[in-house]
Symmetry: C2
Subunit: 589 residues, 2 copies
């Protein structure tokens, strides 16, 4: 017979229903729950039944954690995750809220305890803080304290801080447990009688393709790059994008803004911010990402090999990302990362260092594609390909989408690809039309100038470009296969290469594919091609191809200050872009 | 106009259809294909369209590779994978066949080459051999040779050898590529114009639960274990199982056959064999797995921590596997591995070493469950649980299966679990019936004997067992949750524990759950319980519980030679069993 929720009275009867005895059983019901935002709406709900498991997709569940890799402090800064204490209340915004809720008697029975705990493996990847009554945030759990008693009170708000990005040895999943411990007697250890578990996935680092809207353009100022700087500044201003110039005192002549860093971001239901991936390249620009970018709500991450030399393939001109693609029915709505490595058939090629490759693959949501870039002297994928939006085709695209006929998003952009025979064909056309004497590098001085006839007569150059074409065709096949592209999705640009002493290739004239893409505006290396009726034939061809896509071309003179140093506009610039509207946890993996 | 398959004649006409010229184009079509058993029927098919990707399930595809961890050689033996050459033709049976097929002209055009290649990352996990005309098997690819030219001939049979099991840093997948290289001119490197890729998954190491049929029983012979040896020998002979006795000169007194090793197997469509996992425990039995088990078609693998001390939880009495289970709709048709670790709430407990845990988790097909075993002095899961088949229920099971009502296979076995109150209840029953003076350890000498009354009066013992019960209840909850068991699936056995000085528990009398399971025959530690009418009350209870399941009990006296040394029948024996009929690649993962 139940007397109340917490008391049970038991009456013992004899055979003749006489009462033999009475007993009262006191019940203590204690409800404890560790709560997180398992449904990913930005709010911590109450005891979500799915909080202990993590699944992908719009119907998925499981909480999300950011690596707290920005810096709340301006002076003596360091990523917040490197500090064991909280320096500013705003830092809590970068952490995931977690609530410990209890229901039951005003106090736990004597000897009972609530304990929060993590495994040794997880302890190096996560910290838990909680605010005490004086609004300080003491550490509850970290790599030194794997288990700690927490107060028994109706509601305790806690904050969970992520410390490490997913990597080769870390799938991104972390668990935090709450246990109610029961004492047996003073002589023995307490034993858990109930454990509640929540799971977090650390948000991946996500790259932003050229099709996303720019926010800020980055370039270096050097003694000799005025025409370039003027060109880029004009483009940025035209669209009201922010422009950040890194001056000589900081860049020390290192102008390769593309190569030192890659912009990306991290995202969660409660917070998101940009994160720069610092290349292990470490030229004279090496302090720029840490000194100038790391800051409040601007994160920083790097991967540096321990016992391996870095090489030119470790520069981030060799790290790009495609727009969204669908490949054989498999969707990559955040695109696919593209890197360049050595030919698989070659045992002695240069490669991107393993720690960076491992990091990129471990992010999972933009599964990388490896191209062959070691055939190039500098060895960067941005020397022979880029992606441009195709705004003119977007309406068609929308229509197809409504008709449910679309199975590839690739129509909203095009892959631009160098293609040598396009150049030879164009030059032969000029020759046939009587322009064989027209000069490349016209006006750049007699040492540079060379006629169309001379180029077409150069057998050695022709055979070098036959070789290069083979290398490019290989990559074209890989891109078609791995990005699900048709020939129609690829636009071939007229480029010419020449080989250096080690049989590796460099652009013969400014490499137009190495452009900056700012919405509909393209900043293209001025090719200094042969002139017909006063107009550069290469520019004319390029402009005609791009205008058909609804894009505007601006040709930027980077001949002396970049091209002669084996780079172009793209190598010398960088763009921070808006994040994807699609949230990564909604991917179906 | 096509003249033949390999010649195209082109005629140029003028406006008035007059012939302007003629040209003949010579076409060379070369078909190359790297073929494997991608459909897993034991035969290498021709150019399977799915050979380049690996998927799970009955409809899955992708080839399978064994770690060549047995030893063809009897003298100076070592796992074959540790040798760079093939010592016996029979070794080819342990490798996966791969065929390079070509079709086209009798010879490749001048300068063209076929090359087989692997990535640097894969090179430490795989080797490729091929037989040349004198029937020797030279190495084609290994960690020193990542790329090698292979002959252009109609059919070349190759053999692929696996070297490493899946582990924390290796998901088990490997790729081998074949490329056709085209020369441009002597001055430049050749470039691949076509690449064919095959993928292999290295077969996981699979454990065999008690419900699988025994093949061979393993025990040690020591100076003092005659009654035990006789009992086990009798059981094995009764069922015609092979018996392997490890004699004193080899075991040097180390009798814990369960703890030094775990039997498992590896399986592929073309070959399968048992593989022993050698424990890092390394007692005096440490050479037994390598010296006595490793051999032709008997593999060997071990994992030893580099800078960590091993402890008692690293013995393989602490490594078991459940029969097939279904948990919340998720099937584990090969069961789940069970290990024992420290309480998650405890920061200072003993754990199974990380390298062994990593290995077990990486096998994937028997996803492990971690129980809490650190509360035990010896710390092994086999001290408080085991699985027995339930042959009497199998017909019911089959019926349910036909009716398609079954969603848990657990009915074909039962989890046996120690349960202390069962023992106290049984002893109180004896006391009430006037048998309080009956003695445990009756006949084992006055130092050992103790009466039922004395045990029930021992308050300290009672409180120790209250603590132990809490530890066991925790494990019971975990097992129910992680194996999808009902209370009906669990049979509680009467066991009593006592605590040692460090508050860790040992069995008070021989721990009946620590039994050997050989089909329907159970070899159970003789408990030496209190006698009623000349019959041991504990044996009577145990026999009654087991007979209800259709199982036969044999009680084996291991009191002096095992129990007093803190182990029992299971700790002192091991059983090699038949593999699962279900092939692991048919799992839906």
């Amino acid at each position: 017979m139940v007397e109340s929720d917490s008391k049970l009275s038991v009456t013992y009867y004899g055979d003749n229903t006489e009462v033999l005895g009475k007993a009262v059983l006191h019940l203590t019901a204690i409800e404890v729950s560790l709560d997180v935002d398992a449904d990913r709406d930005g709010v911590v709900e109450k005891n979500n039944p799915h909080k202990g498991a993590w699944t992908w997709g719009p119907e998925g569940h499981g909480a999300i954690l950011l690596v707290n890799c920005d810096s709340e402090q301006f002076y003596h800064k360091t990523p917040d995750s490197d500090r064991k204490h909280i320096t500013a209340v705003s830092d809590l915004n970068d952490m995931s809220p977690m609530v410990l809720r209890t229901k039951g008697p005003a106090q736990l029975p004597p000897g009972y305890k609530l304990t929060l705990h993590i495994s040794r493996g997880d302890a190096e990847k996560v910290r838990v803080f909680f605010p005490d009554f004086v609004k300080r945030y003491p550490l509850v759990l970290d790599d030194q304290v794997l288990s700690q008693e927490v107060p028994y009170q109706e509601e305790t708000k806690l904050y969970v801080e992520g410390l490490r990005f997913p990597d080769k040895d870390f799938d991104g999943l972390l668990k935090i447990h709450l246990s109610l411990l029961e004492p047996i007697s003073e002589d023995f250890p307490e034993t858990p009688i109930y454990t509640d578990t929540v799971v977090f996935r650390v948000a991946p680092w996500i790259m932003t393709p050229n099709t996303l809207e720019p926010v800020e353009v980055f370039v270096c100022s050097t003694k000799d790059n005025y025409p370039f700087l003027k060109g880029i500044t004009g483009l940025a201003k035209k669209n009201n994008y922010k422009l950040k110039v890194c001056y000589e005192y900081k860049n020390r002549g290192d102008r390769w803004m593309q190569d030192e860093l890659e912009f990306g971001y991290i995202d969660s239901p409660h917070q998101h911010f940009p994160v720069v991936l610092d290349s292990p390249r470490d030229g004279d620009l090496k302090d720029f990402p840490y000194d100038e970018l790391l800051g409040k709500d601007f994160g920083y991450v790097t991967r540096v090999p321990e016992d391996e030399e870095v090489n030119s393939l470790d520069s981030f001109g060799n790290l790009e990302v495609s727009p969204p693609v669908t490949v054989n029915g498999k969707h990559y709505p955040l695109g696919r990362i593209i890197i360049g490595v050595a030919f698989p058939t070659s045992a002695h090629g240069r490669n991107m260092t393993k720690v960076v490759q491992d990091f990129l693959w471990a992010q999972k949501v933009q599964e990388p594609v490896a191209l062959f870039s070691d055939w190039l002297y500098v060895g960067h994928v941005d020397e022979f390909m880029t992606f441009v939006p195709a705004p003119g085709q977007r309406r068609l695209e929308m229509l197809k989408h409504f008709l449910n006929e679309i199975d590839n998003l690739s129509l909203i952009y095009h892959l631009l690809h160098t293609y040598l025979s396009v150049c030879y064909k164009l030059f032969k056309g000029l020759q046939n039309d009587g322009h064989g004497k027209a000069k490349i590098f016209d006006g750049l001085g007699p040492d540079e100038e060379i006629s169309v006839d001379e180029i077409l007569d150069n057998e050695r150059l022709k055979s070098e470009n036959d070789y290069v074409q083979n290398c490019i065709d290989w990559n074209r096949d890989v891109l078609k296969r791995e990005l699900g592209l048709d020939d129609d999705d690829i636009i071939d640009l007229p480029i010419l290469f020449k080989l250096m002493e080690d049989n590796r290739a460099v652009a013969y004239y400014p490499d137009m594919v190495n452009m900056i893409v700012l919405g509909k505006e393209l900043g293209i290396p001025k090719p200094f091609g042969p002139k017909v009726d006063g107009r550069c034939a290469l520019e004319a061809e390029m402009t005609s191809l791009m205008e058909a896509l609804g894009l505007n071309c601006t040709y930027i003179d980077n001949f002396a200050s970049y091209h002669k140093l084996l780079g172009e506009v793209h190598c010398g610039s960088n763009v921070r872009r808006k994040p994807f509207e699609l949230r990564w946890w909604n991917l179906e993996m």
